[in-house]
């Protein structure tokens, strides 16, 4: 079981991702923007963060940058509809997941990440 933080402003995406991860036996925490994600990550030190890019208050890339600056070393998955090549900056994330993703895509990325680590 992993403690996973989902940072996602779109309620439906957050809901189906949470359900899939809980069904897979993980403990899920949710934040609706980068600012909130940063706060929860600092407090809870999750074992995995899955974050959206375009979000209000603070976007996913800014949040990742800040977390890495503060020394967060856990794996981070960036999920976005924006092609990876179009990202304006490349903070240190561990996997990129093209939206819209399916359950097997998400679980596949997680399997790969944790096999590597």
């Amino acid at each position: 079981m992993l403690r996973i933080l989902i940072v996602e402003d779109e309620a439906l995406v957050a809901l189906v991702t949470s359900l899939a991860l809980e069904e897979a036996g993980h403990h899920v925490m949710e934040a609706i923007n980068g600012e909130e994600g940063l706060k929860i990550a600092r407090q809870e030190q999750p074992e995995l963060i899955i974050t959206d890019y375009m979000m209000p208050r603070m976007n996913g890339l800014e949040m990742i940058e800040k977390l890495r600056e503060e020394g967060f070393e856990g794996p981070i998955v960036l999920a976005s509809a924006i092609p990876e090549a179009n990202l304006p900056i490349r903070p240190q994330y561990d996997a990129y997941l093209q939206k819209p993703y399916r359950e097997q895509d998400l679980l596949g990325v997680m399997r790969r990440l944790f096999r590597e680590s």
Partner: protein, 468 residues
């Protein structure tokens, strides 16, 4: 003078008299599937194309990825501007947790953070559904204030059909309504700008279609005529393409006027039109709108009387617009003709035929106004227009079934059949010719291997003689 932003939807910008006003707030209302989301996105992409920054905030459960996947099939979509110039965020979670005050703070923060000059709030009904009328009024008021303070244009989308007295409608600067209407078996889309504070508008409903380019709005062409009609007219005469008809009319049709050829089926109306088009040159080109025969059929019809339409099209002397009978939007057709004629500076326009245009109209009583507007625009470029229209009477009718069309054209020709010596013969009568003397006698003609010939048909004479 408040700056304006084009919506990127040509016809809509025309209705709005130049687009949306900077710093103003608009409501776009319409039922699900009416095209609100496409319209709002078209505006956003157009806005960033012209150097602005746009923010799209959704209160809907539908994910942005799904929406973008649908939008990516449309020609205005440009992936490369997302998210640097065009940002999509959801306000749903904030609204759920912190209510309208939280959403207001979020909107303020996001407009500032993104330095947005255009903002869309999609799903305003979600904000309205869980609150009192007073709270909602306050929300709209505050949102408008925030947008105005940031000098951003705000567009709110809602599918609720709320009355015009609703607070949001009284408060906002502009109100645009999209409708999906049905008459008989036919459904059609309309757009209406009900309010635009500080700006003129083209009032009433205007047809639109959702195409691969997004929304295409076709302002009711008669509503776009402003002021008194221009009396500018090119002097002189334009050949009809038939030497003898030119003689009958004192040198052809008066320049930049509109003529109507009335006649029953098969009498030769299109053939007269083909003669008229045969005078076109690359320097003085022509446009034909065909509503019956396909270009292929027209070519063979022309070839049969020694006219080479194909060569005329290739040389640029002729452009054929063919709109086969179907559920056409007449305003779209009318604009296509006017814009094509303007783009090539056409001097001749042939519309074959008016009855098909009328059949395509949701409200047929608009026909004379539409033709009048077309004439006005075509007159501006010095084009002479020829229309054909079918009548039911085979012989000289007692009453011209003109549907008021003949009133708005300058010249009217009537083609009829005559029954004489056991045969049907054709005859042309000039009913009116603007400011011109003309030969009022009916003139017999027949269709020969070279087209219209003003003489009794020699083959008919032989056949009758043989029969006797």
């Amino acid at each position: 003078m408040i700056e304006r932003f084009l919506t990127g939807v040509d016809g809509l910008d025309q209705i709005l008299r130049g687009g949306l006003l900077q710093g103003s707030a608009y409501i776009v209302q319409g039922p699900p599937g009416a095209g609100k989301t496409i319209l709002a996105n078209q505006f956003c992409f157009s806005h960033v194309r012209s150097g602005g920054r746009a923010l799209y905030v959704s209160l809907l459960a539908e994910s942005h990825e799904r929406m973008l996947a649908y939008l990516s099939a449309l020609s205005f979509y440009n992936e490369s501007v997302i998210p640097q110039a065009l940002q999509y965020v959801s306000g749903y979670g904030t609204l759920e947790r912190d209510g309208l005050p939280g959403l207001i703070k979020l909107m303020r923060h996001e407009i500032k953070r993104h330095q947005a000059t255009a903002v869309v709030l999609d799903g305003v009904f979600v904000a309205q559904s869980n609150t009192s009328e007073g709270e909602f009024r306050k929300f709209v008021h505050e949102l408008q204030g925030i947008a105005n303070f940031s000098n951003a244009t705000l567009v709110m989308l809602t599918h609720q059909s709320r009355p015009s007295g609703s607070p949001e409608h009284t408060m906002v600067d502009g109100w645009i309504e999209l409708s999906d209407e049905v008459k008989g078996f036919r459904s059609y889309r309309t757009i209406e700008v009900k309010k635009h504070r500080g700006s003129e508008i083209l009032r009433g409903k205007h047809p639109f279609r959702i195409t691969g380019c997004g929304l295409r709005v076709f302002p009711r062409i008669e509503s776009t005529l402003t002021g008194a009609p221009s009396n500018s007219r090119v002097e002189g005469r334009v050949s009809t393409g038939l030497k003898q008809l030119d003689e009958l009319t004192g040198g052809g049709l008066p320049c930049s006027t509109a003529a109507l050829i009335l006649g029953p089926t098969g009498v030769g109306k299109t053939t007269f039109g083909l003669h008229f088009l045969s005078e076109a040159t690359p320097q003085e080109p022509a446009v034909m709108l065909g509503l019956y025969e396909s270009p292929g059929l027209l070519q063979s019809k022309a070839r049969a009387i020694g006219l080479d339409i194909e060569a005329a099209c290739k040389s640029g002397a002729l452009t054929i617009l063919w709109r086969p009978p179907s559920e056409n939007l007449v305003d779209e057709i009318a604009w296509d003709v006017v814009e094509k004629a303007k783009s090539i500076n056409a001097k001749r326009v042939f519309v074959d035929g008016v009855a098909a245009l009328k059949d395509n109209l949701i409200y047929p009583e608009r026909l004379p106004y539409i033709l009048n507007a077309m004439n006005a625009y075509l007159r501006e470029i010095g084009a002479t227009v020829l229309y054909t229209s079918e009548i039911r009477d085979m012989h000289m009718p007692d009453v011209l079934p003109t549907d008021e069309v003949s009133v708005i054209v300058d010249n009217v020709f009537l083609l009829t059949y005559l029954r004489r010596e056991q045969a049907l013969r054709r005859s042309l009568s000039i009913i009116k010719l603007r400011e011109s003397r003309f030969d009022a006698r009916a003139t017999e003609f027949h269709l020969s291997g070279t087209g219209v010939a003003f003489a009794p048909d020699p083959e008919l004479r032989e056949a009758i003689a043989e029969g006797q």
